[in-house]
Amino acid sequence: MKVDTKAVLRDVFPRMLEELTFLFADNSDGKASLPGDAVLVNIAFSGPFHGTLDMSIARSLGIEMASNLLGLDPEDTNAQRAGDDALRELMNVTCGHVLTGIAGSEPVFNLSIPTVRPIGAEEWDALGAAADVVIFEVDGRPVQLCVKIEE
């Protein structure tokens, strides 16, 4: 199926980020440089069509999100522990709204449980070079997002 997933991501991600974590995303045109603590957050979906949503991001942004969500100091050990959980939750919410943006509100999709794992330059650059990648800047740090729909 041919859908402008980049337009959907540009609309959905900044809204979800702001409403969920009180952080703001700016569109970024240039190549995003690898943060030292880069992770890949992945969620798969299946329904009338299937695929994945990938996000590469600095792990420290997850800690910032968790501290905003829970009202904790970013240095607090609870915020540190909750950082990956916050990234998974952001991914889960973003994916749900991206699928509505692509397919409308009738189809039923099943979502996988999001995963988070550290990545190096090779995987960061590969996602950054994908044709459908959308790059944002959040609090001075790059975030790369890409929807992959399998035919």
Partner: protein
Amino acid sequence: MSINVLIVDDSETVRAILAKTMRMAEMPINELYNAANGQEALEVLRNKWVDLVLTDINMPVMTGVELIERMNTEDNLKGIPVVVVSTEGSATRVAELKMKGVRAYIRKPFTPEQFREICTEVLGPSNEG
């Protein structure tokens, strides 16, 4: 009147966010119980008095839909109001959940005001804080 609430979500952070949202919404909470999946939720429900269940759908071990189906088979549990809190936006899925007896559906993200409004609708005005 204060209520006992069970929050079912596999993410400890999401459970903490929901608890915080309920405090911000000034809901009259007496006891707050937590479960990481449907199976754990059933254990709590069989042993504690719960007035309201807030559950995610997508969880390991036992999903929210399976939890609702199991609650419907147990006389002591089938009358407990269940509100699904999830990211999914499918009207078809929401209709299916309501057919299974789910009282309301809250789509993430939401504000404390939206949350309070829906919970008050489910529990009735006598449970307003």
